[in-house]
Every structure is written in structure tokens, then in C-alpha cells.
């Protein structure tokens, strides 16, 4: 059998001792959870802990255990619908791998750790922060946070960084997720939020879904799309794979990964040529159309087809349906955004929305499909490297002055904008950053080129992690603090429609574990810098956040816990006061943005978009190819994504038995034509190799993928991690990494060493 030569690329350790002690192990329904004679003590209405849709659900609680789930039929977004992850999420609670103590590194122990009293662990973290900042400056200690935290916690993390530690270097895992859409939305609309509630999908004649595996990554959105089609909508899907939703779509555009800008430019040209643009809307409500039109005119059908790999007939058909529609909804997700030209990809899609004039009206919509639980709220209130609460900018003097006044400090003491998450790790690698505290982030699995990430973390003088399970990243920490699961705390999140909703606590933290916000405040106290970090609970944090966000674009000042509970959520913006003569948002806030005649704090009443003139911006989107194209050595495109039964880095879902059993291990998808060429059959072990790393997995030979592209889902760690191969090239504006395209070669291989030693989820 011929195999590729062993490369010099690094391979992750098998970590046997740590896995034995901390998992991931699989939990199944058992004991109190299967005993049909046990009735729950209470049903807690809350939301899923996983994706950005935030389906409403009820957790069934007996004593301090979540024993099951019951649909919450009244919650309007999902009306009882749930995906498999939501249904089985309760098995993460009372899990054998749950961290019940703090731990510190211990080289003499097989697990690599010994337990440590909570207070001693907090003191150790505070001591390390103090020492590193004293010796190397405030910015030498960095924070990594996450968008699965409640908005209150993300607000606290930003305040902890900017007021308590006064470090410039805080960023979050939304950098891997939401930032391209966020940056593009700000450039085009002046505001970063899906423009419409999902109910607007139902009134659309054309639903265009680009780079979004809706069925697997946002399953509940499927019913909105199918229901639109029942009413006569045509569904167009742009994807290199025939995803489950693409299977029966009306028009499938099998785009070559990394070529989306070319596709949308080509569609815009067809709209121009055939007079399908809404000239009246463009003149009254937008700026910059002429330059964009001139650029688009170069994108003939033939050229667009050559670059995108989509036949001219399909592009023409898509443009005609989109161009002639009276109503429409365009959705995209990471497939468009995870690119070194991710912002440009999104802007090119927005250009065809603006050219159509179909936004700000019922049945006329646009939105990114947020990935993480709080992907929306988590990117608004100050845990991004350049941001302050309310969607304010750390680089803006007026914004600094306002937040400093809320926090009772001098604006001069606020740090300047810091660097993005990947750059934080590069600075750790180069020695500029010496210490790091990470929460809700598993970069050893989730960041591209993750052999580099592991190396960078290894160079830190001090690394602490707050987590509820010992993630692949926490395994590398000097100190691990036991944090809280979503069901162990209360707070708000903002789901993908911009609806602020409330997570309700169902159970208490076990053992020495603490709610995350308590841990952060305990560290601040141990540092002797607790001023401003003495909240007694999430609602008190939210009340301060209301003030801090007031007058900003992400204005939450009119939202209260009570209003959220009474209305099944409240859509921001929801200011507490509006100028005289302006209609204040209704009880539900502002479900639809950009309605004609609407008021906003930037345009006042000049127009519906969030710029001083009230007009939306067309942005030039010249096509630029991916950072690493295929060549003789690495002739295939690798693209990565998700499967329905797993979530992100798998730190939770790889511990839930029924979800692991659904799709146990990553497989490399390839087309039979390619497989035949390479002598690979379904189920064979194959080795995929890039310039950065390699990965040996079983092949899944399917006709549902472009023959020039292979796909690997990214939820696994160690030697099964797709991100050993991916490239750390980033978008120049959003700094999102290019997960969706890099060059690889693939060959048949011998079974890997891990096959006999690890369970599928490990």
C-alpha cells in the first residue's frame, strides 16, 4: 500500500493519562433519568445552551439533577421544535467528567494535575496576574473569552479587562465565528444585527442561502424555509456540498470554496444588464452604487462561471429569480464568512440585497445565521479587542468618555484597542504576552493551524483556564478553575434575530465549582482591585449594562428582565427614551430594522440606515482568491464545517453518548470520481495533509460534494482535528481565519495509532 511520506509536521500528544482522568467520556441516560416512576420537581423554562437560534425548552429537574427535556410550545421562535443537541443537552449536567475542584499542573501525576482548594487557586491566579503585569506591563496579561457566555458575563469580562486589569489584550471566540458578518454589516448598514425576524422568511418569494448548512447548523430554521416554499418561494442554495437542505432546493449553485465574491458580483451584473435593480430605492437610500456597478459589469456570466465553477445557466437562473422577485430573504453563515476575504464576501451579498431594494419591509429580509448561543449579544458589549459596551468603539474618544463615566474612572486609564484572538496567541508565541486567562474558548481544537496554538500556549509563563470540563485547551493550563454550565446560572443572551431572551438557572453548581462571574470577581478581589466588580447577581449586571449601552447602537436601555419574560424576548435596539415625536419601540422592541421612516440614534430621522445621512453603503468588492490556492503538491481544496450532532470544539457534545453515537468520528468526505482516481473506497483510512499538519481519518465517499473539494468536520481534538490542516490566514478587517479553504493532498493510509487507543469522541 502506498502512503504519503511522513511529514515533519508536529503531531499532538495522545494524552492518555489526561483523557483517562478527565475524558471526554460518554454519558447516557441512566438511573434517575430513565426511572419512569420519577416525576420532576419542576420544569424550568429556558433556552438551549448550543447554537445561536436559542430554542426555547423546558428542563425537567429532580433535586439537583436535570433529568430530561420537555418542549416549550409557547416560545414563538421554535414552538417546541428542537434539534438532537438540544434534546440531549441535559446529559452534560451531573456528568462524570464535570470539574468539581480547581486543579493545578502536577507533572508527577498520571492525569497531569492535582486538585487544589478553590481559594488557593484564585490566589494563585491573582498572584500570577499581579507579577506578570508588574514585571512586563499591563498588556502582558491577556484574556480570551467566549460568545457562549451570557451577555452579563461578556460585559463583566470586558469590564474586568479594561477597568480591573487595564490590559488592551482581550478578545473572544466570536473572532472565529461572527466577525466577518459583523464588520460587513457595520460597513453597509452602520449596525450589526440581522435585519429581520425569522418570521419574514415566510413571506419571501425567493430564499437565498449562501454558505450555510442550515439543516445541520441551524436545524430549526429549516421549517421556516420549507414553510416559505409551501407558500411558493423558490429556494436557492450556494454551497460546495449538497447539504440536507440543498438536496431538494429549487436551484443549487455548487460554488468552488473561496469564490463567493465573484458569484455575487456576477449576479449583480445580470441584475444591471436586465434592469432588475430598484433604481428608486438605490437613489433614495444608498450611497456608492455607481462604483460597485462599474466593478460588477466586468463579471460576465462566462467569467463568473470560470471563477466560481458554477455553470453559466445556473448563475443566470439565480440572478433572474433574485432579480425579478417582489420579496426575498438572503441568509448566510460561516461558509461565506470564514475566509481571508470574508468581509468582502458578505459585502458582495449585501450589495445584491441593496440593489434589489428589498430590505426593511415585511417579507424582505437579510441576516447572518449566528453560530454560538450568544453570538449576537457576545459581540456587542465589550469583550472584543476594540470594543466597549453598547457596540461602542474603544478607539473613539466620545465612547471612551461615556463608558469611563459609567464605570467611575478616567477615560485616560482605559487601555487602547488590543489585538485579535489569534494575534494574542502569536504574541504569546513570540514572548510579548506572558500570561493568559481563558474562559469559554477551546483554541487548541477550534483555531486553525492548531499545532502552532498548542506551541504558543506552551510558551506562556502562566496560563489559567475557567471551564466546566477539562477541555483540550484546559489540559495545557497551569491552573484550572471550575466554572459553571449554562443551566447553573441566570442571565440574558441575544439570539440570531436580535431578540434578547433569558436563561434561567435550573440547578446549583456542584462541588467547588462556581458561577463564572463569581470567579472573575473573586480574582479581582484577590488582586485588591474589586472596585466596580462587586455585583451580587446577573440582574444587577444587566441593570448596569442598560446604562452602559444607552445611546449606543446596541441600545438595551429599555430592556428589563421583566419585559423579556413578558414578551418572549425583546429585540434590540430598545432605547429607554426617544426624542419627542419619535415612536418608541413596542413591548417587543424592534423586530425589523430599516423600516421606512424609522428613527435611529445615528441618522436621527434622516433615513432608516445607521449613518448620519440615513443611507446604506454599497461597498466595492473586487474578487481576491483564497490565501492558499491548490497547486501540484497540494491539489485539493479542503473545506471544514459541522455535523448536526456535534457543536463547535465538542467540549460538551463529545461527552453526550447519544450524540457521539449519531456521528462518532470525523470522516473525510470526497467525491467518487476523486476517490477512484486516488484508489480510495468508502471506509478506507486516508491521510490528508497540508503544509501545516496531517490527519488520518476514514473516507466517506459521496456524490454530494464537489469533486475538487474534500470536507472534514472540525469538532474533534488531538490527531482527529481538522484544524491541524487549516491555515491561519485572516481577513484584514475582521481577522476571521480562513477555515473554509486551504490546499491539501489526500492518499490512502495505514490505520493511525490512535485508532486502537482512543474512543471515538476522544
Amino acid at each position: 500500500m502506498s502512503t504519503a511520506p511522513e511529514s515533519a509536521t508536529p503531531t499532538p500528544p495522545l494524552d492518555a493519562g489526561r483523557i483517562e482522568a478527565f475524558g471526554p467520556h460518554r454519558a447516557y441516560e441512566a438511573d434517575v433519568r430513565t426511572d419512569t416512576s420519577v416525576k420532576p420537581d419542576r420544569y424550568v423554562k429556558t433556552h438551549c445552551c448550543f447554537c445561536g437560534q436559542q430554542c426555547g425548552m423546558q428542563l425537567k429537574v429532580k433535586d439537583n439533577t436535570v433529568i430530561g427535556v420537555e418542549p416549550w410550545y409557547e416560545f414563538p421562535f421554535n414552538r417546541g421544535m428542537m434539534c438532537p443537541k438540544g434534546i440531549k443537552r441535559y446529559l452534560q449536567q451531573a456528568h462524570p467528567d464535570r470539574l468539581l475542584h480547581a486543579y493545578e499542573r502536577d507533572g508527577s501525576s498520571a492525569s497531569g494535575f492535582r486538585s487544589l482548594a478553590y481559594d488557593a487557586a484564585v490566589r494563585r491566579v491573582a498572584g500570577a496576574i499581579e507579577q506578570i503585569q508588574r514585571e512586563h506591563g499591563n498588556d502582558a496579561f491577556a484574556l480570551l473569552s467566549g460568545a457562549s457566555l451570557t451577555t452579563e458575563k461578556t460585559y463583566l469580562m470586558g469590564k474586568f479587562a479594561h477597568m480591573c486589569l487595564r490590559t488592551a489584550n482581550i478578545d473572544y471566540n466570536g473572532r472565529l465565528c461572527m466577525v466577518s458578518a459583523a464588520a460587513a454589516n457595520k460597513k453597509a448598514f452602520g449596525i450589526d444585527r440581522a435585519a429581520n425576524p425569522w418570521s419574514d422568511i415566510l413571506g419571501s418569494e425567493v430564499v437565498l442561502i449562501a454558505g450555510a448548512n442550515v439543516a445541520e447548523c441551524a436545524p430549526i430554521t429549516t421549517n421556516y424555509v420549507w414553510q416559505a416554499r409551501e407558500r411558493g418561494a423558490k429556494v436557492i442554495v450556494v454551497d460546495p456540498r449538497i447539504t440536507p437542505l440543498a438536496r431538494t432546493c429549487d436551484l443549487f449553485l455548487p460554488v468552488k470554496p473561496g469564490r463567493d465574491t465573484a458569484l455575487f458580483n456576477g449576479i449583480l451584473r445580470e441584475m444591471l444588464v436586465h434592469g432588475w435593480c430598484d433604481q428608486d430605492f438605490i437613489e433614495r437610500n444608498t450611497v456608492g452604487f455607481d462604483a460597485v456597478a462599474a466593478e460588477a459589469r466586468q463579471w460576465t456570466l462566462q467569467r463568473t462561471a470560470e471563477v466560481t465553477g458554477i455553470s453559466p445557466e445556473r448563475i443566470q437562473q439565480a440572478a433572474e429569480w433574485w432579480g425579478k422577485a417582489k420579496t426575498s430573504f438572503l441568509m448566510h453563515a460561516r461558509g461565506l464568512e470564514h475566509h481571508s476575504n470574508g468581509v468582502k464576501n458578505v459585502l458582495s451579498a449585501i450589495n445584491i440585497v441593496l440593489a434589489s431594494g428589498r430590505i426593511g419591509k415585511p417579507g424582505c429580509g437579510y441576516g447572518t445565521i449566528t453560530g454560538q448561543a450568544n453570538g449576537q449579544g457576545g459581540r456587542e458589549h465589550g469583550q472584543k479587542c476594540d470594543q466597549l459596551p453598547g457596540g461602542r468603539d474603544l478607539g473613539n474618544a466620545e465612547h471612551r468618555a461615556y463608558i469611563a463615566s459609567v464605570w467611575g474612572m478616567s477615560p485616560d486609564d482605559l487601555p487602547r484597542p488590543g489585538v485579535d484572538a489569534y494575534e494574542i496567541l502569536r504574541k504569546a508565541h513570540s514572548g510579548e504576552i506572558k500570561g493568559l486567562l481563558s474562559i469559554c474558548f477551546n483554541p487548541v481544537v477550534s483555531l486553525p493551524d492548531n499545532n502552532f496554538v498548542r506551541e504558543a500556549l506552551g510558551k506562556l509563563d502562566f496560563f489559567a483556564s475557567i471551564d466546566f470540563f477539562m477541555s483540550e485547551t484546559a489540559r495545557l493550563a497551569h491552573v484550572v478553575l471550575p466554572g459553571s454550565l449554562q443551566e447553573e446560572d441566570t442571565g440574558t443572551v441575544t439570539q440570531l434575530e436580535g431578540r434578547v431572551i433569558k436563561i434561567n438557572q435550573a440547578v446549583q453548581c456542584p462541588g467547588e465549582a462556581r458561577q463564572d462571574w463569581r470567579i472573575i470577581q473573586d480574582i479581582a478581589k484577590a488582586l485588591g482591585r474589586e472596585r466596580g466588580l462587586t455585583f451580587e447577581g446577573p440582574e444587577q449586571m444587566f441593570e448596569e449594562l442598560r446604562v452602559a449601552s444607552k445611546g449606543g447602537i446596541a441600545d438595551y436601555s429599555g430592556i428589563t428582565y421583566q419585559r423579556v419574560e413578558e414578551n418572549f424576548g425583546v429585540f434590540w435596539p430598545c432605547p429607554s427614551e426617544v426624542p419627542e415625536g419619535v415612536v418608541a419601540p413596542g413591548p417587543q422592541g424592534t423586530p425589523r430594522l430599516f423600516e421606512p421612516g424609522s428613527w435611529n440614534p445615528v441618522a436621527k430621522s434622516a433615513g432608516p440606515f445607521y449613518f448620519p445621512d440615513g443611507k446604506a453603503r454599497f461597498n466595492l468588492t473586487p474578487y481576491v482568491g483564497p490565501a492558499e490556492d491548490v497547486d501540484e503538491q497540494y491539489p485539493l481544496i479542503l473545506t471544514t464545517g459541522r455535523v448536526v450532532s456535534q457543536f463547535l470544539s465538542g467540549n460538551q457534545t463529545r461527552r453526550i453518548g447519544p450524540l457521539v453515537d449519531h456521528y462518532p468520528e470525523p470522516r473525510l468526505e470526497l467525491h467518487p470520481r476523486l476517490a477512484q482516481r486516488l484508489g480510495i473506497e468508502d471506509g478506507d483510512w486516508v491521510r490528508a495533509e497540508s503544509r501545516r499538519g496531517n490527519c488520518t481519518l476514514r473516507a466517506l465517499v459521496v456524490q454530494t460534494i464537489r469533486p475538487d473539494t474534500v470536507f472534514i468536520p472540525y469538532h474533534w481534538g488531538g490527531r482527529k482535528s481538522a484544524n491541524q490542516l487549516t491555515i491561519s490566514a485572516q481577513d484584514p478587517i475582521s481577522k476571521i481565519p480562513e477555515y473554509k479553504v486551504c490546499a491539501v493532498r489526500v492518499a490512502k493510509a495505514e490505520p493511525p495509532e490512535y485508532a486502537a487507543r482512543l474512543e471515538p469522541q476522544q
Binding site: 502506498s2 447516557y28 441516560e29 430513565t34 426511572d35 419512569t36 430530561g68 427535556v69 418542549p71 410550545y73 417546541g80 421544535m81 428542537m82 434539534c83 438532537p84 434534546i87 439543516a215 445541520e216 436545524p219 421549517n223 420549507w226 414553510q227 409551501e230 449538497i242 447539504t243 440536507p244 437542505l245 438536496r247 431538494t248 443549487f252 455548487p254 468552488k256 462561471a305 470560470e306 465553477g309 458554477i310 455553470s311 491548490v630 497547486d631 491539489p635 485539493l636 448536526v644 450532532s645 447519544p658 450524540l659 467525491h671 467518487p672 470520481r673 476523486l674 482516481r677 486516488l678 484508489g679 468508502d682 465517499v701 459521496v702 456524490q703 454530494t704 464537489r706 469533486p707 475538487d708
Partner: protein
């Protein structure tokens, strides 16, 4: 309590996305926690992402009950074919072998046949079955025929199935396109129809790729 006769169950495989929410939700049912009674499989994964969920069809004249030597399987008046009664079931497997839809499963640990009872504990008190409650694509749906047809004007519910010489009417409907001339699904005939599959990768420019990949026989 019984299940109101106007409430029906509908399966529309064209909507199915294979997410297995139904399979996972079935095992959350209070009467058989930890056990799922639904089977959901790819039709032919090599060619398509098409999946098909199979629940008990709740036949008017249930073959499983007819072949049961212990009279353990009852069809209640509301048309629900109940799971085997534990005191009677002798775990003989007759029902497993006889069901034309392949629904009943033998639980060898419990020595008991178990199958979908349309969540009788829920549907008999006015709740939807777990699977149809959670299904994100509503490939599985529960409600009145009028409600469903108002939501799905292009679909036609069919509940007659032909297996060779036997025709079976069921409480559960399969959704076909409204334009389909069928009132009976001929299952035997369908077994000989061509396999599913799509070939939308009609990219004339893709040949470039294959120039770069040397066939395996010439390494």
C-alpha cells in the same frame, strides 16, 4: 383518555434533514425513557443526503397483532396500535418478522417487543408526540388534516400501502406531491424503481483538478 380521531400523524420525507431529533426525542418519552422506537436511515448515502424516518404506521388491521400468539398487541378504538403488554408478550418475534413496515423491535434485555404507541401518554392528554413536537423540518407533523393542508397546499396525504397482494390502511399518512396520481403507495413496485441521486456538479472547468492528480496506479 383517548386520542381524538381528527388528530393525525403525517410523514413527509421530502422535508427530512436526517438530524435524528425524532430519534433522540423518542427516548425522552416518559414511558420508555432511554429507548428510541424510531428508525431513521439514509436511503443511499453514497448518492444523496436523503433520509427517511420510520414510525409505527398504526394499521387499521395491524399485522403485528394478527400474528401475535399471545394476544399481547391491542389496537385501541382511537386507532392507536399499542406496544406489547408486558404480562402477555412472550418475546416470540412474530410481530418483528411480520410487520410490513419493519417497525417493532425486540428488547432482549426486557424480553419485550417495543414499538411506537404515538406517545399515548402525551397524545391521549392533548399533547403532541415527542418526535412531531421537536422535528425541526416538520417532516413529522401531528395535527388535524385541515391544519396540515392549510400549511401544505402542495402535498397530498396518502395512507394506503400495497405489499404484493396485501393492501394496508394506516392511521399515519405519508405526504406525496399533490400532483401525484397515486392514492395507494405500491411498496413492492417501488423496490424496483431506480435509486435516488443527483449530479449537479456539471462544472466544465473542474477537469483542471484532475490534471493535477496522478492516478494511483502511477505513483
Amino acid at each position: 383518555m383517548t386520542v381524538p380521531l381528527d388528530l393525525e400523524f403525517f410523514v413527509d420525507a421530502s422535508r427530512c434533514i436526517g438530524c435524528q431529533a425524532c430519534v433522540q426525542a423518542c427516548s425522552e418519552c416518559d414511558t420508555h425513557k432511554g429507548q428510541s422506537m424510531i428508525q431513521l436511515d439514509f436511503m443511499d448515502r453514497a448518492r444523496s443526503t436523503q433520509t427517511f424516518p420510520v414510525v409505527c404506521m398504526h394499521c387499521d388491521s395491524p399485522t403485528c397483532a394478527e400474528v401475535c400468539p399471545a394476544d399481547a398487541i391491542k389496537r385501541t378504538e382511537d386507532g392507536i396500535v399499542q406496544t406489547a403488554r408486558k404480562p402477555r408478550c412472550i418475546a416470540c418475534n412474530n410481530c418483528v418478522l411480520a410487520c410490513p413496515f419493519g417497525v417493532p423491535k425486540m428488547n432482549t434485555r426486557m424480553n419485550l417487543m417495543m414499538k411506537c404507541d404515538m406517545c399515548y401518554d402525551r397524545t391521549s392528554v392533548g399533547l403532541k408526540p415527542m418526535c412531531a413536537s421537536v422535528c425541526p423540518s416538520q417532516a413529522l407533523a401531528f395535527g388535524t388534516r385541515a391544519e396540515l393542508l392549510a400549511l401544505r397546499p402542495h402535498a397530498k396525504p396518502v395512507n394506503s400501502f400495497r405489499f404484493g397482494a396485501q393492501t394496508i390502511r394506516t392511521k399515519v399518512n405519508i405526504m406525496l406531491p399533490a400532483s401525484a396520481p397515486l392514492d395507494v403507495v405500491d411498496v413492492t413496485q417501488a423496490m424496483y424503481e431506480p435509486s435516488i441521486g443527483q449530479q449537479p456538479f456539471d462544472d466544465a472547468f473542474m477537469e483542471d483538478v484532475f490534471h493535477r492528480i496522478r492516478p494511483r496506479s502511477k505513483p
